[in-house]
């Protein structure tokens, strides 16, 4: 790659002073394709980084531990608290069990997740990206490992450029070994949510008896590979090029949404200075007006400073404006300078490699690293914190912020309603499913006495995790009755019963009649009272057709 424009601009009298300037990007040998440079985020400490660390421990803690929690299965034994038993088509989440018939709740859960995303994005920006997205959470852990093996940003960049010495092989190799172990453990845990994890551990290839099945091995390796690739290599490229949320976040943003924002009125014009110059908040210059401040940002984005070139900041697209021409920046007296000292640390800490001073960009995952970094610098300079801060566009522009606005209220109400509906629905699910299938072979048959018989299969599903007894009865017109009368059946916990039953009509019944099956749970009541209650509300009724000869 050639050097950035080495020819300084010549200063005309009364015109802006010389300033090194390079185009936004250089043509890479005539090709439009520019390969991604690896981003090495600089280590940073501060409130937001500590919050993110807490989020990583909390979320990954749940992921790695929940699979190991045992839970009573209702009949004296124990099962895994969270288990998605695909072969049995049953999901267990702590005390709840879900059957294929409960699929609607999964759909509802997805809608709730979507609505929560809308609500929190409108309110506080991309909280999801910064704190909860698996992509960022696992990337964070992989970065910790990388930092532990290879050192901080400067050391990693140096190591990247160095030839393959023994130290490089050891540091790189160590990193990949740790990454792979962690990725394999992640894949193992993932499969442990579908196959009981304790059995899976007992069947581990080197651990003990037996082997993993082919599919278990495949999915463990597949998920490990995905973790390794996404968190180790793709990282911010997933957010920038693959994530749809980054693209449509702007539909949920407005000027009252919390964003990570640089305050150009306070910070511009940026520049290094000698120690001793106070903050603009404490000296005569004060805040710039908005138009001048944004113009300086625009110019700085197009005419990189020497400091920018050192860190190779990327992602300047927010101030691409094909119609506007960026004039070079004049040189400023120290007294004119804003509070940004152009140290570029906010760029160096950014995991997506953008310059937040250019304004909100879709690449920003709202991790807050630049806030923490800038606050540290402001502390060192003796300036008040908050040159980069969590704020709203309105607040940055000096206008009042409205938290309660129509979209927040609308999303909030919808979210609450959906949550309430979900909670009510899940806790009030019917504990019994009754399905009636007609015999497929014959519409009806006539028995020796001239009566007409229809054969049905009654499918009873006891969805509870306890044994149940049910009373089965039939209510039909014209003397149509259940052969042998009403009866009681026993179903074990989560058992599916298939009962072939014969319904009989007296001779002479013809054509199509409607009959009603009634199934009443009996457990915990005395039989006589139950029989009386059988026709009452808590019976599950299914109406089907009864066919006789055509008259």
């Amino acid at each position: 790659m050639t050097d950035p424009d080495p020819i300084p601009r010549k200063a005309a009298p009364g015109k802006p002073a010389p300033r090194r300037s390079i185009p936004l990007a250089l043509d890479d040998g005539g090709s439009m394709y520019v390969s991604e440079a690896k981003i090495h985020p600089r280590d940073v400490d501060g409130m937001f980084q500590r919050l993110r660390t807490v989020a990583v421990w909390w979320l990954l803690g749940m992921y790695y531990l929940f699979a190991w929690i045992p839970w009573s299965d209702g009949s004296g034994g124990s099962r895994q608290a969270v288990l998605f038993d695909l072969p049995a088509r049953k999901f267990y989440v702590f005390g709840l069990n879900f059957w294929p018939q409960d699929f609607v709740y999964l759909a509802l859960l997805l809608i709730i997740a979507g609505m929560a995303l809308f609500f929190f994005t409108s309110l506080a920006g991309r909280l999801w990206c910064g704190y909860a997205c698996p992509q960022t959470v696992w990337t964070e852990v992989f970065l910790w490992i990388e930092r532990w093996c290879e050192g901080d940003r400067a050391k990693r960049i140096k190591l990247d450029a160095s030839p393959w010495t023994r130290v490089k092989v050891l540091r790189r190799g160590g990193k990949h070994v740790l990454w792979l172990v962690f990725a394999l453990w992640t894949g193992f845990t993932f499969v442990g949510y579908f196959t009981p994890i304790r059995e899976l551990a007992a069947h581990a290839p080197l651990a003990g008896s037996g082997q993993w099945s082919g599919w278990e091995t495949f999915w463990i390796l597949f998920y490990a590979l995905a973790t390794w690739g996404n968190a180790g290599f793709l990282r911010e490229q997933v957010c920038k090029y693959m994530c749809p949320y980054a693209r449509f976040q702007s539909a949920m943003f407005d000027r009252n949404t919390l964003i990570i924002a640089y305050d150009p009125m306070r910070g511009e014009p940026r520049g290094s200075r000698r120690k001793g110059l106070g903050s603009v908040l404490e000296r005569a210059r004060g805040l710039l007006d908005k138009a001048t401040a944004y113009d300086y940002v625009f110019r700085a984005a197009h005419h990189h400073t020497a400091a920018d070139n050192l860190v190779a900041a990327r992602g300047n697209t927010s101030v691409l404006d094909p119609k506007a021409v960026a004039e070079p920046l004049p040189s400023f007296e120290p007294a004119q300078l804003g509070d940004c000292i152009d140290c570029t640390i906010c760029v160096q800490v950014c995991p997506t490699g953008i310059d937040i001073r250019n304004g909100l960009q879709y690449e920003c995952i709202a991790c807050g690293a630049c806030i923490d970094a800038c606050d540290q610098v402001m502390d060192k300079m003796g300036y008040p914190r908050g040159l980069i801060r969590y704020s709203t566009q309105n607040a940055i522009d000096g206008r009042p912020t409205r938290v309660l606005r129509p979209r927040i209220v609308l999303y909030g109400v919808l979210l609450l309603a959906l949550l309430a509906g979900f909670a009510w629905g899940v806790t009030h699910r019917s504990a019994l499913i009754v399905e009636v299938l007609r015999d497929r072979n014959a519409l009806y048959r006539v028995n020796e006495g001239g009566g007409v018989e229809n054969v049905y299969t009654l499918k009873l599903i006891n969805k509870t995790m306890a044994p149940q007894r049910y009373r089965i009865a039939l209510d039909g017109p014209d003397g149509i009755h259940l052969q042998g009368g009403a009866r009681t059946v026993q179903a074990a916990a989560e058992e599916v019963l298939n009962l072939p039953l014969v319904v009989e009509a007296p001779p002479g019944v013809s054509g199509k009649r409607e009959v009603r099956w009634q199934v009443t749970p009996l457990t915990g009541r005395d039989e006589a009272a139950s029989a009386a209650a059988a026709a009452a509300d808590d019976a599950t009724e299914v109406s089907v057709n009864f066919f006789g000869p055509i008259p």
Binding site: M1, A25, V34, A37, P244, G359
Partner: protein, 98 residues
């Protein structure tokens, strides 16, 4: 790697017919092929009996429903691809009123 990184090239928006066409036409084609393969192996009437036996859906209606379901899926995928391929400048615009 240059200091800028992002190529200094921003394709202007393409005509509406091209945008819509590039989403609907490949997805239409893929949906057609998928429908053919799917219903060469499956009878719509079997599907109906397994799902909504009470509804009166004939074979023709089943084929049509299947095709449009496939098209919905493939067109969604094409739309997603289009969104991801839009240049960053389409998203990183100035706020209205600035």
């Amino acid at each position: 790697m240059s200091a800028g990184g992002t190529p200094d090239f921003d394709h202007p928006p393409r005509p509406m017919a091209q945008r819509v066409g590039a989403i609907l036409w490949p997805s239409f084609f893929a949906a057609g092929v998928s429908t053919m393969v799917c219903f060469a192996l499956l009878d719509p009437l079997t599907l109906r009996d397994a799902t909504f036996p009470d509804l009166d859906i004939g074979r023709e209606a089943g084929y049509a429903l299947g095709f449009f379901a496939f098209w919905l899926a493939t067109a969604s995928s094409s739309l997603f691809t289009w969104i991801l391929l839009r240049p960053a400048s389409r998203f990183n615009r100035r706020l209205k009123g600035d």
